[in-house]
């Protein structure tokens, strides 16, 4: 059974702009699926529909066999809690310490009052340190999150996502604001999580060289429509021009 199945998904923004148009695909457990496409092609919208940060206008989303398109309240929160998410701009809580930020990954399973009073269990603390260990940044646990470099912040964000013990990890252009070397280090962590922990990853990416290096499968969006679904090696020059336009030139990131 597929981990995630998207059928005829469309999203129209309140201003009438149709950002996603009839998208269908399935994701098998363990895949490292990369979504490519020009800026504005709908990648972020698609990712946010998957954990319902954005409400789909049409279509269905099925996760682990359960239709989650219209669940609300507790069911919606538990759907979200099972999916980790990292962002281009990391989205950490700036004034709070690294370890606190990681603990916030458990908010979905922590009672509201306890979390507001800062009462996270010692087991949760221990798991937070382990998660920081996975991304090699445990020594920064007590540093303020906004004192870290971009690459370090993204690793903290990955640790936060790991706290959810996710089946699925969504990454929205996780390296778009990082330099090439740091980009590879962050992508390597995602790859390790995918390979070692078996977490399925869906990742929006910009650079084709990164796609070829990390993806096990690629989906391409163009103007909100899906125009490609296949292996990274199948992206020929012809496909490249279809996806990115005739004028486009491939840029390498090493």
């Amino acid at each position: 059974m597929s981990l995630l199945s998207v059928r005829n998904l469309s999203h129209t923004y309140p201003n009438g702009y149709k950002a996603l148009d009839d998208i269908s695909f399935s994701v098998e457990p363990g895949e490292f699926l990369v979504i490519i496409g020009l800026s504005g092609s709908g990648k972020s919208t698609l990712l946010r529909c998957l954990n319902r940060l954005i409400e789909p206008t049409h279509g269905t989303i099925t996760m682990n066999g359960q239709d989650v398109t219209h669940v609300s309240d507790a069911a919606l929160r538990s759907h979200r809690a099972g999916i980790g998410m990292i962002f281009q701009h990391f989205n950490l809580i700036p004034r709070h310490s690294v370890v606190k930020n990681v603990l916030y990954g458990t908010l979905g399973s922590t009672p509201t009052l306890a979390s507001i009073l800062g009462r996270f269990s010692s087991e949760q603390h221990q798991r937070a340190m382990e998660a920081l260990d996975v991304v090699g940044i445990a020594e920064k646990a007590d540093v303020r999150a906004d004192a870290l470099s971009g690459g370090q912040q993204q690793r903290v964000a990955i640790a936060r996502a790991l706290m959810q013990n996710p089946n699925l990890l969504l990454a929205d252009e996780p390296v778009a604001s990082l330099d090439p070397a740091t980009s590879h280090s962050v992508m390597d962590y995602l790859e390790r999580i995918n390979k070692d922990l078996g977490t399925t990853v869906i990742c929006n990416l910009h650079f084709l060289s990164l796609v070829r290096r990390y993806a096990t499968r690629v989906i391409a969006l163009k103007g909100g429509r899906m125009v490609f679904d296949g292996q990274p090696i199948e992206i020929t020059d012809a496909w490249f021009r279809t996806i990115y336009g005739e004028e486009a030139m491939e840029v390498e990131i090493r």
Binding site: F90, P94, Y104, L170
Partner: protein, 327 residues
């Protein structure tokens, strides 16, 4: 033909404005009545300026859209007309009278009050200090009582928080309207209301300030909330957090410092307002001041004024320092 029409329009406008200036403002200023005949050369000067200086309003009305970017030009001319005519109207309505300001009688009055203010009577200092303490604490209590309520309300008054459907939208709009009404009623009016309700004294003053502070702080807080970076909100929501957790973990950390800063500034403002509110029965130094003013004891008034100035100035400096340090 068009040109003639433009000149006529300018002439009408020009004569209206110049006669207003020459026949109303100038006599008011100088006490001399100006010969109405002066209006004619002034009008001619106006038309000349309009025609050759490029500021012709008549031209504007007769020219077609393609010749001139009409809306823009019109707006700037309208702006000038509105500006000039409001100065003229304001002059008349406010009874501005340079004659009284500089007349012998007027200057004598000024000499008397300044003389008294600069030879303060320090016998009242003890009572004044007591009253000042009352005023400062009235302001402090009002701020402390208002802060928690403003904090809670500010979330309901923030557009980016109230996204949960129509009923939240309605609540948001109603709350905003109520706060706007509360805020447009000056604290002094609330003080009059509460001095009838709970009797004259600091408590009435405090209640008046509480109402106004809630309205003002809620607005400031909620604007800050609407300004937060959306990213952390998405990130915390994505963990499966409940709504209250999202507010607390994604919004509050981004807002505490500005909130503190607004609050301290509000206390500072409240001390000034508490003084004024004292005039209408809000207790403290304001009440004392009206008493001595009523008795025409200007030397005592002088002491109070000096004390108020010192305290307000001190608080101003302190609150500015604290807010600076918070940044």
């Amino acid at each position: 033909m068009k040109r003639l029409f433009a000149i006529i329009l300018d002439a009408i406008l020009g004569s209206a404005v110049t006669s207003m200036i020459l026949l109303i403002i100038v006599p008011e200023l100088t006490g001399l009545s100006v010969a109405p005949l002066l209006v004619i050369p002034a009008t001619i000067a106006w038309i000349a300026a309009a025609t050759f200086g490029g500021a012709s309003i008549g031209q504007l009305f007769v020219s077609s859209k393609t010749e001139r970017p009409l809306p823009n030009g019109l707006r700037s001319h309208m702006g000038w007309i509105a500006f000039c005519s409001s100065i003229v109207a304001g002059w008349i309505v406010t009874d501005i009278s340079p004659i009284e300001f500089f007349s012998g009688e007027g200057l004598k009055g000024a000499g008397r009050i300044f003389g008294a203010l600069f030879t303060p009577e320090f016998d009242v200092l003890g009572a004044a200090l007591d009253a000042m303490v009352v005023t400062v604490f009235t302001a402090l209590m009002a701020t402390i009582v208002a802060v928690p309520m403003s904090f809670v309300l500010s979330f309901a008054a923030a557009r980016n928080v109230m996204t949960g459907g129509t009923h939240e939208r309605v609540f948001y709009v109603l709350l905003r309207a109520l706060l706007n009404i509360m805020r447009s009623m000056e604290p002094i009016i609330w003080a009059i209301i509460f001095s009838v309700w709970v009797g004259i004294g600091p408590f009435a003053g405090m209640l008046a300030l509480v109402v106004h502070t809630i309205a003002s702080l809620t607005k400031q807080y909620s604007e800050q909330i609407e300004d937060v970076n959306h990213g952390p909100l998405e990130a915390v929501s994505a963990t499966g957090a409940k709504r209250l957790q999202v507010l607390w973990f994604a919004i509050v950390p981004q807002c505490v410092i500005p909130f503190l800063s607004f609050t301290i500034y509000r206390w500072d403002i409240n001390v000034r307002m508490a003084t004024i509110i004292g005039f209408v029965g809000g207790g403290g130094i304001g009440t004392l001041l009206t008493q001595y003013q009523g008795l025409a004891k200007y030397n005592e008034v002088g002491t109070l004024v000096i004390l108020i100035t010192l305290v307000v100035w001190m608080l101003d400096v302190i609150s500015a320092r604290v807010r600076e340090a918070l940044r």
